[in-house]
């Protein structure tokens, strides 16, 4: 698998900690792009700020590393500027759902053809382990030393509620499944949203799990289950994986282009 072909090796080694899940997500994304046969010049990767958001720098595409939470707003400009490009937006959980929550729901509402990937490690990794909107209740962080009392977002429900026309969830343990979802999400014409549960051994792990990165990742095998599996009935705590929404709905950038054509005909 020629993953290297898609990397800017000049800028290696990358900055992620050993055992961080973000690199695994990058690898699955590259494989998905390879599988789709996308031309490198037709791919733009836009990110915000966070450990997750450092991904684009390592990728040999057009890459735009922006501001904390604002990746989807920048990406909307890119997509409107050149709708023929594939726009992929990897984000952190804090990036996407705290500071960037407003842009997330509006990009979903517009159904603009962008692929959003949330690399959810339930923590602010880059700033050293503070709570995020997906930190579970009772989990510890540097800003919740006695355990978190803030209820967490279910990002899949959030994306569904906002109108995303493709919504899926996977984990770093399920790399092939994740890759398949990326393929579907990038192919989808409309706003696609993929949440990937991932491990931050350095902060979330150390405060809460006290196990090796590999153990953290393997836990996703037992804490999650496929959509519709009978296991969920036995244990409602299990987090479902799979494609939750896959609908056809008018896409924003193309309906704008249609409007331009109509206006031109009228003149």
């Amino acid at each position: 698998m020629p993953v290297k072909r898609y990397l800017r090796q000049r800028f290696f080694p990358q900055l992620w900690c050993a055992g961080c899940g973000h690199g695994q997500i990058m690898a699955s994304l590259i494989r998905a792009i390879e599988e789709l046969g996308l031309q490198k010049n037709n791919v733009v990767v836009v990110s915000g700020i966070g450990c997750s958001s450092r991904m684009p720098g390592y990728l040999d595409f057009h890459t735009l590393h922006t501001l904390h939470g604002r990746a989807l707003a920048f990406a909307t400009g890119v997509k409107m500027g050149r709708p023929e490009l594939n726009v992929i937006v990897p984000m952190g959980d804090g990036d996407a759902s705290a500071i960037g929550g407003n842009h997330l729901i509006h990009a979903a509402r517009r159904n603009i053809n962008i692929t959003a990937i949330v690399m959810n490690n339930n923590i602010y990794g880059m700033t050293g382990g503070q709570s995020s909107p997906t930190t579970p209740v009772a989990a510890k962080s540097t800003t919740a030393p006695l355990g978190n009392i803030d209820p967490a977002f279910d990002l899949v429900e959030l994306a569904k509620g906002a109108g995303a026309s493709f919504v899926a969830r996977s984990t770093t343990y399920h790399s092939k499944e994740m890759q398949n979802m990326f393929v579907k999400a990038i192919n989808h014409k409309g706003f696609s949203f993929v949440e990937v549960l991932t491990q931050c051994p350095t902060y979330y792990g150390r405060k809460n799990e006290g196990v090796s990165p590999t153990e953290m990742m393997k836990k996703f095998a037992t804490t999650t289950t496929s959509i519709g599996s009978p296991k969920k009935k036995e244990n409602p705590e299990l987090i479902e994986r799979g494609v939750f929404v896959d609908q056809e709905r008018t896409e924003y950038a193309s309906s704008y282009c249609e409007m331009i054509n109509q206006m031109r005909k009228q003149k």
Partner: protein, 386 residues
Amino acid sequence: MKRSNVATQKFIQGNEAVVEGALYAGLGFYAGYPITPSTEIAEQLAEKLPARGGKFIQMEDEIASMCAIIGAALTGQKTMTATSGPGFSLMQEALGYAVMAEVPCVVVNVQRTGPSTGIATTVAQADVMQARWGTHGDHAIIALTASNLQDLFRITVEAFNMAETYRTPVILLIDEVVGHMREKLTIPAPGEYQVVDRLLTSVPSGIDYHPYLPREDGRLPMSDFGGVHRYNVTGLIHDMWGFPSTDPAVAYNLIHHLVDKIENMELEIARYQEFFTEDAEILLISYGSSARSALQVVEDRRKQGVKMGLLELNTLWPFPAEAVRRNSAGKNYILVVEMNMGQIYQEVKKAVQNPERVYLANRFDGIFISHNDIGKVLNLIQGKGV
């Protein structure tokens, strides 16, 4: 849409003159969020842009608007947003991003009374310093303004030209009175005004392209997203490939470059107009709508035989210190006329050799400064009482 090949005349509002200027300059993408007194710009462009094949989008807020125009600019479009104080405050972080990543774009601020929500419908010129220093970190910025529609049209075209020439966001800092007043505007025929298009790299495909390595003349040819060169754009301190760096030498050189490429160009960027300045003993310095009242005072007093002149600034940043210094030399009084508590007044004092002769005529209560307001201050400094 048909584009006429001859000059056309219109009787329109200042905000519409911005729209006409932007379209003349080749605007391709606008993102914005409604706010008084700038909203007409968005409303007009929602109709006019798609009719010309361009694109308009109403974003969820001003932060998103600023981000979207940067994203679209990187695909090769000329882009703009427009707002007023509260929205301009929200844009500051992304404005700094455009400075750092050297992305050409135009940001219009139709100033209203602040701080905070202030008075939404009344005039002010109190965002002059925010335009200069609103975003964090050492940087330079270009800010332009105008007092009438013909100048506003021209300066709007120049805002786009400067954005392309210097690869920087340019702020069009107008005010409520100019934005809303109606006047005749003659739109020049295409080609009559210079329009600067994006400087694209001549580096061919397959050869290492350095998006952030300035040429000898300081300029940075671009390559559009979707083109043959794939590079990184970031708000972090970055090297010549656009890749993040914490090397102090890289940081030093980049910050110097960002400041010098504009500050060293003061004379090229300075736009100003001199009215009756040659033999003037008293000099008024003003800009935007205030300059209209200032000019009226000058014309009135000239009729009474008073040797008075006006220096009207169209470039506010980088501050046209040379023009101010030259015009102020040897004057008995220099009176700065503006609608804030002395933001340009302080700059003038710094620039001139006779700062003790610099006075301020101002208003900041939402009421347009009149020739009477200025006349009273003049009488006072001339020892004539009010």
